[in-house]
Amino acid sequence: MPSQVVTVASKVGLHARPASLLVKAASASGVAVTIGRPGAKAVNAASLLSVLSLGVKNGDAVEVNVADGENSAQVLADLVAIILTNHDE
């Protein structure tokens, strides 16, 4: 199960556009994806409400887990890229 810990680049954190983009990508991937603070309970990354409820701010670290599947590695890379991009600029 591929996973990676990344730091949120957007100024607003995982909120507004950055959160929507992440949730859309996770829903479209067709694989189960979870996200959470490292070591804490993870939530469904395809749920905007769950992602918002994490209250992740700019500079916070999050761990993304992608369930095993054909494209798992690619899905993880795509999601990590979204989190590492500052969507506010």
């Binding site: 100024k11 929507s20 949730v23 409400l49 506010d88």
Partner: protein, 545 residues
């Protein structure tokens, strides 16, 4: 009931059909099953997606798209699956639906700031879901014909997303004289009534007569009622149209009349009615309409357009007054128990110092050779005034002044005003703080009037200090827009009055009928009264209707 009354906050007469906004809460029991609830969420999601595609305004589009995603959220569906048993019919699903939303709402509220802002999205979805299950159509945002808008309250973000060109009048069941509805209505030049308890019970489509001066609201009015009110309104209006040019009293004493503005269009309206400049340009709208801080170049573009539109006349531009009733999610990110007493206005330098510095930089770039005055909101102490003055100077902004809108600043005005070049009373907040009464609470509307003698005495104290220091004092609160109160303020000794452009004509016409001696007598009577009501009636008796 065929007649309702509230506080008239923007004069004018309107006749039209009621169109209710928001909060069409279904109060009856709503029967339903898990399957119907899940299908309802899908339908609400589709409604929201469709509205998001239809609307032109970018901010509204994003909000609606995010709401659609929430309605389609798999975790929300999961919560419903846990709460409701499949295949079972419930006689009333409302409490279960409220329970399902409560979990997410509590989590988001606890996070504060812009996360807590999303609670209103969940409320919107919950209202739409209940309406869908009850078979009631929800109407929001989209107006297709001229209507009298009736709502509980209109927040700044509502007014940013609402298409107001079809609004004949605004009527709110909540709110006081200085609520945003009042400010928006005056800006648009349409009648408005706030604090009209019970109006949410009126059905959509009912013909009504709105009198924004007296605050009365009549259902199915007769032709006689309409023509009588129109006649009285026209008589008062003609007075305002009989005088033009700079403001002055009947004895020739000059009183500068300025416009309040929040957009370039407002500045144009002010110039059109002959304002001698802009006495308050509010910079919040640019920040409220954006999901992140506007860049320096975006700000320079707006401020330059404002200075251009004022055609070289004086413009008093206020630094960001975010917080309290105008929270900007990405700036006021911490939940405050008591936001009116929290980090707002100039106090933002404690938490978002760079935002204020970038704004001053943008103003200094846009300044060029225009007559620009900068003003800081919520200045409380001489140290804060000094900080603002030295920052302004470092950006080459020479004409700097402060809002006097807290009792501390007014009582200490001899020291506060010594640090800067001018002052301006923000009577809305000053009243709220002197009277310790929330301006949004309609139950306290008698306390939130600037006619309260305690408020007028506070203004008189600070004005006396300003005279000793030779600092010009203005008023930029809603009080300046009320002709009788404007005369009282002139009698107290203020030099300029800044108001919604729609009020300038009436105030100019009224001031032309009184002399300085009479204004001083009005000021004395009002300050000696025991209540706002007594102060107002004594002054009306002295000066005439």
């Amino acid at each position: 009931m065929s007649q309702y009354s509230g506080i008239g906050v923007s004069p004018g007469i309107a006749v039209g059909a009621v169109r209710k906004i928001l909060g069409q809460k279904v109060t009856s029991e709503i029967s339903g099953t898990l399957e119907e609830v899940l299908a309802g969420l899908k339908a609400v999601g589709a409604q929201l997606e469709a509205s998001s595609e239809k609307i032109d305004l970018e901010v509204a589009k994003d909000i609606l798209a995010a709401q659609a995603m929430m309605a389609n959220d798999p975790s929300l569906a999961e919560v419903f699956e846990n709460i409701l048993t499949a295949g079972q019919r419930y006689s009333d699903v409302r409490p279960l639906i409220e329970e399902a939303f409560a979990g997410f709402k509590n989590t988001l509220s606890a996070l504060g700031g812009y996360f807590a802002e999303r609670v209103s999205d969940l409320d919107e979805i919950s209202i739409r879901l209940l309406s869908h299950l009850a078979g009631v159509k929800i109407t929001k945002l989209v107006l297709t014909e001229p209507s009298v808008i009736v709502a509980e309250d209109l927040t700044p973000s509502d007014t940013a997303t609402l298409d107001l060109k079809f609004a004949l009048a605004l009527v709110c069941s909540k709110g006081g004289a200085t609520s945003h509805t009042a400010i928006v209505a005056r800006g648009l030049g349409i009648p408005a009534i706030v604090g009209a308890t019970g109006v949410m019970d009126i059905s959509d489509g009912t013909q009504v007569l709105v009198d924004g001066r007296s605050g009365s609201f009549i259902l199915e009015p007769s032709q006689d009622q309409i023509s009588n009110l129109r006649k009285r309104e026209d008589a008062l209006k003609s007075r305002s149209e009989s005088v033009s040019g700079p403001g002055k009293l009947s004895d020739g004493t000059a009183i500068q009349l300025l416009g309040n503005a929040g957009t370039v269009e407002d500045v144009h309206s002010a110039m059109k009615v002959g304002a001698e400049g802009i006495g308050l340009f509010r910079t919040e709208l640019l920040f409220l309409n954006s999901r992140i801080e506007p860049t320096i170049s975006e700000q320079v573009e707006l401020y330059s357009a404002v200075f251009e539109a004022a055609k070289g006349r004086k413009v008093v531009i206020r630094t960001l007054d975010a917080g309290s009733d105008k929270p900007v999610p990405y700036i006021n990110a911490i939940h405050e128990e008591n936001p009116a007493l929290g980090v707002r206005g100039w106090r933002l330098t404690r938490t978002s110092n760079d935002v204020i510095n970038r704004q001053l930089e943008a103003i200094s770039i846009a300044q060029k050779s225009f007559d620009v005055w900068v003003m800081a909101p919520m200045i409380n102490t001489p140290a804060e005034a000094e900080d603002f003055a030295s920052r302004s100077a470092s950006f080459g902004l020479k004409n700097c002044g402060v809002m006097i809108e807290t009792p501390a600043a007014a009582i200490h005005a001899d020291k506060v005003l010594a640090k800067v070049r001018f002052g301006s009373f923000g009577t809305n907040d000053l009243t709220q703080y002197v009277m310790a009464s929330d301006r949004m609470d309609s139950r306290l509307s008698d306390m939130t009037s600037a006619w309260n003698p305690a408020v007028l005495r506070t203004i008189a104290t600070a004005t006396m200090f300003a005279k000793e220091l030779n600092r010009p004092m203005g008023v930029c609160g809603e009080a300046a827009a009320h002709p009788h109160l404007a005369a009282v303020l002139v009698g107290i000794g203020v030099d300029s009055l800044s108001m919604a452009p729609s009020a300038i004509g009436e105030v100019r016409g009224f001031l032309a009928t009184v002399d300085l001696k009479t204004c001083r007598e009005a000021a004395r009577l009002a300050q000696a009264a025991e209540s706002a009501k007594e102060a107002q009636s004594l002054v009306v008796e002295l000066l005439g209707e």
